[in-house]
């Protein structure tokens, strides 16, 4: 009798998870966050900036993250102009250090620098290394489900928490029900929650180490009519990474 009750409870829980009917905005964004912030990760990626006139710049970089995205290190490999430049972000990008190999100088950047474009791209430092920001800096609210980019999606509105200093007033996310990958994210201006600033579209979703991973991203900047494409060439999850990797000494290597 007890076994039957447990099985019933489990089935009902499973149904609610599969159907998503009972999932709150907070529960969905928690799953999204868990997918995005794995214990440790390494990746090699390209980032291509495309201007409104069609000019392109492509960067190749290697990045490491630890403690579910709390620590991040990005090192540029190409082009030669920026080779070996590195950025260390700790405490969910609240602490940022940049290393410039031509001068061998490490510069501590304040949190306002998170607004700056990474290498002139449409991604800001905040977009790249904000770790648990979805959970800690925003309040999630579930909207009516929608189909987006051909996927059946949960639609969420994330509104900036009152005590947070993040750069976006709110975000709208379309999260694929099947794998909790946010297929589209709309970012709204810091001072004007009605004004769409940027849109991130993810594609080429693969399962790597049991973790659904979007391999391609395009960030559209509505203000400048530019876009930046990012493609993950290689990804590894849950690999051993020493804390020493996320230090000033390591930045200079």
């Amino acid at each position: 009798m007890r076994t039957l009750a447990c099985t019933g409870l489990l089935l009902s829980l499973l149904y609610s998870i599969v159907s998503g009917e009972e999932l709150s905005g907070e529960a969905i964004i928690q799953k999204v966050n868990d997918n995005l912030n794995v214990e440790t990760a390494w990746s090699k990626s390209t980032m291509t900036i495309v201007t409104s006139s069609g000019k392109k710049r492509t960067f190749l970089s290697e990045s490491w993250s630890k403690d579910r995205g709390e620590k991040n290190l990005v090192r540029y490999l190409e082009p030669r102009r920026v080779k070996d430049q590195a950025i260390l972000m700790l405490n969910n990008a609240d602490d940022i250090w940049a290393f410039f190999p031509r001068t061998q100088r490490v510069r501590k950047l304040a949190t306002h620098a998170k607004k700056q474009k990474m290498q002139g791209s449409d991604f800001s430092y905040e977009d790249m290394g904000s770790g648990d920001a979805f959970i800690n800096d925003y309040i999630a609210r579930r909207l009516d489900d929608e189909e987006k980019e051909g996927f059946d999606c949960y639609k969420l509105e994330l509104t900036r928490a009152p005590d947070s200093d993040v750069s976006y007033s709110r975000m709208i996310l379309w999260v694929i029900k099947e794998n909790y990958v946010p297929v589209v994210i709309d970012y709204y201006e810091e001072d004007d929650p009605s004004r769409l600033l940027k849109r991130l579209v993810s594609s080429d979703i693969r399962v790597i180490g049991n973790i659904p991973t979007a391999m391609k991203f395009v960030m559209h900047n509505m203000n400048d009519n530019t876009q930046t494409e990012m493609e993950l060439l290689e990804v590894k999850y849950n690999i051993p990474l020493d804390d020493e990797l996320f230090s000033e000494r390591s930045l200079k290597k």
Binding site: T51, R107, K108
Partner: protein, 396 residues
């Protein structure tokens, strides 16, 4: 020089196994530039071509060798007499036969700028050889840097390498230390430095103690036996501290160094700066610099003060200075900015509008103009001329 070229060629021609760690990376840049100055009704131009060739090789997981060789040619006005830029009050006492010794020559040169071996251990790195040394948190001025003096018009330009043995270690995730020795002709004259680094809340800090020989010159006395101005070497002992972090949303940094001199008067230097990026991506920075070696008014500047500034023996001629910089990304590839260097001691200023353009994937262009606005004899006197620089850099 020939030995340096030979060494580079030998390194490049060494047979290497197919292992990735044995590969020598070869890269660098070519940098043509033109600098123009309008002074006393005439225009002078200096054209420079710089070729920098870098090589880097990871000999194993823990051993890295890196070097770079620079070849620079100069064209146009290749001899600049500093007396031409100074007021007649200061230069009238210089005997005619000595006027030529105040000339700064720009002669073609080639040299091994850096060549070092870096050994990485679990808890420390050991770097041996000619290497860049960057100390302090200041953007334009660094009281803790015994080795370099930046050009306020171009403060982020790379600095030359210095021969040194350096050990950088970590003490946990928040603390670290550096020990540096840069050899001179004797132990006493060699530079020695100890630095402890740490982090409290959102602030990085460092404590520094250093000693070196400092070679001031008396630019009013010429030593014919050395064919140079009379050298006044003395021990310089430096203790100081720096910090960088965030206060009220602003990036902030402070750097302080007290210099105990063996014979001349002790002095201190202080830098305090702040920066901010607005939501519309405009970036603003301000940095204050005090140097008690500098004078408090333009009437007090003498020939030695000017020469020591031009030859980088001291960072500024006036006691109190303010640097302000504002920039904005016009497009993804073009940044437009202006810096302003203000001498608070003599109320003169240099205004430097500038443009940075990422022209191609591996090509940058920098252009700036330099307008000096100040009374004759001041740090940024109109009579010292106004000018500009156009510089391209192609990376390979």
């Amino acid at each position: 020089m020939k030995r340096a070229i030979g060494l580079m060629l030998a390194l490049l021609s060494c047979p290497h196994s197919a292992g990735a760690q044995d590969e020598v990376e070869l890269f660098g840049y070519f940098e043509p530039s033109v600098m123009g100055v309008r002074i006393q009704g005439s225009t002078r131009q200096l054209y420079t071509n710089k070729l920098r060739v870098d090589l880097k090789s990871a000999l194993s997981d823990n051993i890295t060798f890196a070097a770079n060789f620079d070849y620079i040619t100069y064209h146009g006005t290749t001899e600049w007499n500093i007396l031409d830029f100074l007021s007649s009050d200061l230069t009238s006492n210089v005997p005619q036969y000595l006027r030529t010794v105040y000339t700064l020559p720009f002669a073609d040169r080639s040299f091994l700028d850096n060549a070092y071996l870096k050994l990485a251990f679990d808890r420390f790195d050991l770097t041996v050889g000619k290497q860049q040394i960057s100390l302090g948190t200041g953007y334009v001025w660094n009281p803790l840097d015994l080795f370099n003096i930046k050009d306020p018009l171009d403060p982020t330009y790379e600095q030359p390498g210095h021969n040194a043995v350096r050990l950088d270690g970590s003490l946990g995730s928040r603390y670290g230390y550096s020990v540096l020795f840069s050899a001179d002709d004797s132990w006493k004259n060699s530079a020695k430095m100890l630095r402890f680094k740490g982090r409290i809340s959102r602030f990085d800090y460092s404590l520094v103690a250093a000693e070196t020989v400092w070679r001031f010159h008396d630019y009013t006395r010429f030593d014919p036996s050395w064919l140079d101005f009379v050298e006044l070497p003395e021990q310089r002992r430096l203790v100081g501290a720096s910090t960088a972090g965030e206060l009220f949303g602003l990036g902030t940094w402070v750097e302080y160094g007290y210099n105990k001199m063996e014979t001349s008067k002790d002095y201190y230097e202080l830098v305090a700066g702040a920066d901010y990026t607005f939501d519309f991506l405009t970036y603003f920075m301000v940095e204050y610099y005090r140097n008690t070696l500098g004078k408090t008014g333009r009437d007090l500047y003498d020939l030695n003060d000017w020469m020591r500034q031009y030859t980088a023996e001291q960072k500024a001629i006036s006691r109190d200075q303010l640097y302000m910089y504002i920039s904005h990304p016009l497009t993804d590839f073009i940044d437009l900015g202006t810096s302003c260097i203000l001498s608070l001691s003599d109320n003169s200023l240099a205004l430097v509008p500038m443009l940075n353009y990422s022209f191609a994937q591996n090509m940058d262009i920098l252009a700036y103009l330099n307008f000096n606005i100040g009374a004759e004899g001041s740090a940024y006197a109109e009579t010292t001329g106004s000018g500009g620089l156009l510089r391209a850099r192609v990376y390979f």
